[in-house]
């Protein structure tokens, strides 16, 4: 039967491309049912090591997937896909490790928590390889729907539910705008394709006849993506969601979905809308500048460390949008990838410290850091390293990636935006150093801190070490970034 043979060949060709996400979906489904039925209710903490194992298997599969395009050119595996997939997987891995103290303390170990992380990660892994506006949209939705629930995971706390509902409503709204933009672009391209490469050619021809339609479509897609990466003026949900979510999920929010959404941003605007660059470069430049300025200035006045980090992550997205703006999309993608890699290390380390200070979920005010240097010298030192690195102070790793990104922007001739970025980086140093000031030059409040658990100690130690010495491995890092390619 020739048809069965065709089907079989298509499956052999296409399915290996998504072996990483498939592993995640399969494992998560089995874990939910019938896995959860078989496990007694006092043994739920076993799901954590199982999830870590699944993540490791998925990462190994992702790293070894060969280049190729499949599913009617809806999904593509290349260096770009692999690089960002591994970044997201690493973020999920760290999140599961960081979740343990809080989940154990609150006795909230459930299979759903881990399954939702796996499902959302699967969405992200599909998103970074999506080469069609339709597959971009459904991957974004798969990722976001799981994260809405994770934000509202502590369902007995009103704050957590409030954050989840806010995030859900704004996220659903932005998805609508994104979808409308996609449909307008589909129409502007002649109503024949949503494939990024083909759409790019169609739009290049269409700009003369249908310039308003193209412009409206591009703007709406831009707004949809700006919502997803939380760039000003579409950032309103982010501080509330960050503050209300369980702290490990806040760490997850600031690393994984951001990396995946930026990857999709880079691919959609770098390959699909490259021919209409003039339509979106000015609005995107405005969004980037506004994110840098408002993110950094608003972070100055925050009393909660989670809100402060939320605003600071808005500012970091502003910097990374410089890479998206680049006229050489691949160079921009490399710089953004490197930036996200270092950002992942700094954020996960800083959140590990915060989670330790929090204990059971309360007390995340900046004042909790008072005199930490006297109570826990090593922990305070690590936190200082993360803060200085986030501020971009040499010779720490944060400086290296920031330098690389700004360098690229200068080479592209974006002098105004780079100047704003440099000036706002100086503003950012104020609030990062404020934390250091609190830790080293203020009297401790006298609360006795418990010992650091093994998992947290390992996370803090590894990330702190890498941030400290990472710059020495700069050439290797740059070589590594060169593997980010697409075709």
């Amino acid at each position: 039967m020739p048809f069965a043979q065709q089907l079989w060949q298509a499956m052999l060709r296409d399915l290996p491309l998504i072996s990483g996400p498939l592993t995640l979906f399969f494992a998560a489904t089995i874990m939910l049912w019938p896995g959860d039925l078989l496990l007694p209710s006092n043994k739920k903490h076993i799901w954590a090591p199982i999830t870590l194992g699944v993540l490791a298997v998925s990462a190994a599969l992702v790293a070894n997937t060969a280049n190729g395009s499949g599913f009617s050119s809806m999904f593509q595996v290349d260096g770009f896909t692999r690089g960002f997939q591994l970044l997201c997987t690493a973020a999920a891995f760290i999140t599961v490790v960081l979740s343990q103290p809080q989940l154990n303390a609150l006795q909230e170990q459930t299979v759903e928590y881990y399954a939702l992380i796996l499902f959302s990660l699967g969405g992200m892994q599909l998103l970074v390889g999506a080469t069609d506006l339709v597959s971009v949209y459904f991957s974004v939705e798969l990722m976001a729907l799981c994260i809405y629930i994770l934000v509202a995971y502590l369902r007995t706390q009103e704050r957590s539910i409030e954050a989840g509902v806010k995030y859900f409503l704004l996220g659903a709204f932005s998805s609508g705008i994104l979808l409308y933009g996609i449909s307008l672009l589909f129409a502007a391209g002649g109503g024949v394709t949503t494939n990024l490469l083909q759409l790019n050619q169609k739009l290049a021809l269409a700009t003369h006849n249908n310039s308003l339609l193209v412009f409206a479509g591009v703007l709406m897609v831009l707004v949809g993506f700006a919502f997803k990466v939380a760039a000003v003026p579409f950032h309103m949900w982010s501080p509330d969601a960050y503050e209300g979510a369980p702290t490990p999920i806040t760490a997850y929010l600031s690393m994984a979905p951001k990396a995946a959404a930026l990857a999709a941003f880079l691919r959609v605007f770098g390959t699909g809308l490259a021919s209409v660059h003039s339509d979106w470069s000015a609005p995107l430049g405005f969004i980037a500048a506004a994110s840098m300025i408002l993110g950094n200035v608003a972070a100055l006045r925050q009393q909660s460390i989670k809100r402060m980090l939320a605003y600071s992550s808005i500012a970091h997205v502003g910097y990374m949008l410089l890479g998206v703006l680049s006229k050489d999309p691949l160079g921009g993608a490399r710089a953004v990838w490197l930036y996200l890699l270092t950002y992942l290390l700094m954020q996960s380390g800083a959140f590990a410290v915060i989670i330790h200070l929090q204990g059971t979920g309360e007390g995340e005010r900046l004042d909790d850091f008072r005199g930490l240097a006297r109570r826990r010298p090593m922990l305070a030192f690590a936190m200082m390293v993360f803060m200085l690195s986030l501020a971009g102070i040499p010779p720490l790793l944060g400086f290296f990636s920031k330098f690389y990104l700004f360098m690229l922007a200068i080479q592209q001739g974006q002098y105004l935006l780079t100047t704003i970025a440099l000036l706002t980086s100086a503003v950012a140093a104020t609030y990062y150093l404020g934390v250091v000031n609190l830790m080293y030059f203020k009297e401790p409040t006298g609360v006795q801190l418990p010992r650091l658990g093994t998992a947290l100690a390992l996370t803090v130690g590894c990330t702190c070490g890498l941030v400290l010495v990472g710059t020495c491995f700069g050439p290797w890092l740059l070589d590594w970034a060169q593997t980010i390619t697409w075709f």
Binding site: M1, F3, L7, W33, P34
Partner: protein
């Protein structure tokens, strides 16, 4: 764009009719409000409590269960119409789809959504 003009015309007409009727009736009607007239439901049973009440979580679970089978039907219908053309490929695809839905159903069941008491 010109062949969308009738839609615009219908839209304008549809907006104009209620607006005209509303303002016309405001001009000519007498205005004598009283307590009963101003209540939400002028006739029928007297309202006792507010409409916003807590609903049992079971309705939500039933809605989720309904969704599982609803989505199933939404996909089964077009497949059934095109069954001959899709042939074996379609059969395999719909089989995979039904199997995945079954897993979801199993999950809801194991969570006790079917235990009413």
């Amino acid at each position: 764009m010109s062949h969308y003009a009738p839609i615009l015309l219908v839209f304008l007409m549809a907006s104009a009719i209620p607006a005209v009727v509303w303002y016309l009736s405001r001009l000519i009607r007498p205005n004598l409000p009283n307590a009963i007239k101003c209540s939400s439901y002028e006739c029928g049973i007297t309202t006792t409590t507010e409409a916003r009440e807590k609903l049992s979580i079971r309705y939500y679970l039933v809605a989720v269960m309904f969704l599982v089978f609803d989505v199933e039907t939404v996909f089964l219908m077009p497949w059934a119409i095109q069954m001959k053309e899709l042939a074996l490929f379609g059969l395999v695809e719909i089989g995979v789809f039904l199997f995945l839905l079954l897993l979801g159903y199993g999950y809801i069941w194991s969570k006790g959504a079917l235990d009413w008491e």
